[in-house]
Symmetry: C2
Subunit: 341 residues, 2 copies
Amino acid sequence: MSNAYNRPDQLSPELRRRVLDTARRLGYPGPDPVARSLRTRKAGAVGLLLTENLSYAFRDPAAIGFLEGLALACEDAGTGLLLVPANPEREDVASVHRAGVDGFVVYSVPDDDPHLAAVLERPVPTVVCDQPDLGTVDRVGIDDRGAMYELAKHLISLGHRRVGVVCMRLARDRNDGFVTPDRQHAAHFHVQRNRLSGLAEAFSEAGVDWSQVPVVERFDHNMASGASGAAQVLDKDPQITALICTSDVLALGALTEAARRGLRVPHDITVTGFDGIRPGEEAGLTTVRQPVLEKGRAAGKLLLDASERTRPRSVNLATELIIGKTSAAPRGGAEERWFGP
Amino acid sequence: MSNAYNRPDQLSPELRRRVLDTARRLGYPGPDPVARSLRTRKAGAVGLLLTENLSYAFRDPAAIGFLEGLALACEDAGTGLLLVPANPEREDVASVHRAGVDGFVVYSVPDDDPHLAAVLERPVPTVVCDQPDLGTVDRVGIDDRGAMYELAKHLISLGHRRVGVVCMRLARDRNDGFVTPDRQHAAHFHVQRNRLSGLAEAFSEAGVDWSQVPVVERFDHNMASGASGAAQVLDKDPQITALICTSDVLALGALTEAARRGLRVPHDITVTGFDGIRPGEEAGLTTVRQPVLEKGRAAGKLLLDASERTRPRSVNLATELIIGKTSAAPRGGAEERWFGP
DNA sequence: TGAAAGGACCGTAACGGTTCAGAACCAATT
DNA sequence: AATTGGTTCTGAACCGTTACGGTCCTTTCA
């Protein structure tokens, strides 16, 4: 009887001992967790859905920070954290259906991801992170658009008008190359869409024709992509004075490409990132710092906090503009451009 | 009827459509994963037990690499990966009992960890990693002892005889300070015990009285620990020519402490690590590279490979001695010591 | 001494799916 | 017309646990 294991106060010590003894003698391995879950309707775990290959989560510093925060929240609650395998290639949502969890955290997947749809169909609480507010489930994120707008304003105040952009992938299909304004608007990744839109707004306000600004997209998110993306932008328009990257990882790659070309940063070219990861900090990157660990922790707290009062809830965390040593006024100075021919 | 969902070939398309329709109309959310698991006796997930606070796994580069490899293997098999919260403070093995998984991977926990014992009681396949061979379950690891022996031999051939050691924690209790030979022998962490024993053997063979060698232990595993550990060793014996650290993270910390003291590496002092993580590589650290990602992947493969033939299986992965630029002959040269007074 | 109260123990009914045996049905063969 | 074979469909058993309510025994108090 399970009482012997779980509720020692419900029976006499003597009986308990006897039950446990015979259980051991019969080779009983202890209560089965799955059957228990079925009966109690508690799995003791939350599921994490990332659209990238599962292992990606361990290669991207920002994702690692998020995971750490989420793990922290789970740990506090004594809950397990189930990484759900959601291979973006095959549209195999079975893994979502098979996950025995009490809730889901969905981290930065495209709006139209079938796995996300499958999660929303499950009758368990869900928190989406770095996603648009769906109105039906809790959400945690930052003001990507506002933060990027602020960064752009800073560059504009330094005098930059001719810029290029390297961004992460905007949709589920692979498009390693230039991005049309249409594709920017229609981007299925909420984060990227908003960062680009913040840039577009700020530069448009400064009189720049955004449709003429070279924006290059990279499917894979690593330094090599940042480097090759930067190369593609610089090949297209060697005159740009600033290279705006939508993540620090891309920016770090861009820095290596700049170095390879003999461009001094920030004297010859300004490079900016987004996220505020450690290696970026060490490189003195101008960027927007976002509290990735707190984001994960907030998502976990939201999911595990049972208080039903005001649902759905939406949490926006603060970001901070970090002026590093990879940004400066363009060569020749802002004034020259203002008063020049 | 579950056939409609899972076995479309077992019934006519017409009935299937009808069943699914009414299911939707009744608001049926699809088959319950827990009930399914109970019946099929498959949870579709493997559990990962790390004794450290769950979040630690996301802060240690070697652990991250292991996790990535394990996640890769899980992904290939379409299996979930459940991080089991095993707070080392409270001896709460309930989380192990509650985990609905098809198997466990246990990563570098102390021999006497109650969570490990709880895992072994569960009637599911288990793979232990960086642990002693238990004889009853699969195991994957490296030859920590041999690898460290080889590294020590290299230092000895350079002429080092007077050395100090900074190691990770050796047992569940906190002991930030010098380690007696007894404690080294009795260490509950297999990895640390073997690395120290490899060192002891090599230096003993070279005529060094190992019991006189300062060995400092640090409970927390981060660069600050490496720095303070190095400081403690250097304070005790400023004459040492080499600082051997049992991990790269500690070694990186030791490098900062050396720099703080104005000691040039490797001219004034040799510093070595263990693991072969990226930041160590960038610092040119002399170390032993171990294939952490492969280790994780091998653990996953072993667990998910159902072939029952030769159990338990034991896998040893190859390591590689990396001679970086943090090691050199001691100042004054090896010869001076050989032929000196 | 009898009734009420409380505690210990035990039996049973879900939880929600999967599986399997067999019923019902239709078609083809003898 | 009856037997055979095959397919589609239905019903019941089972997976292992926990929640619940009932029985029985002991204790307490009027």
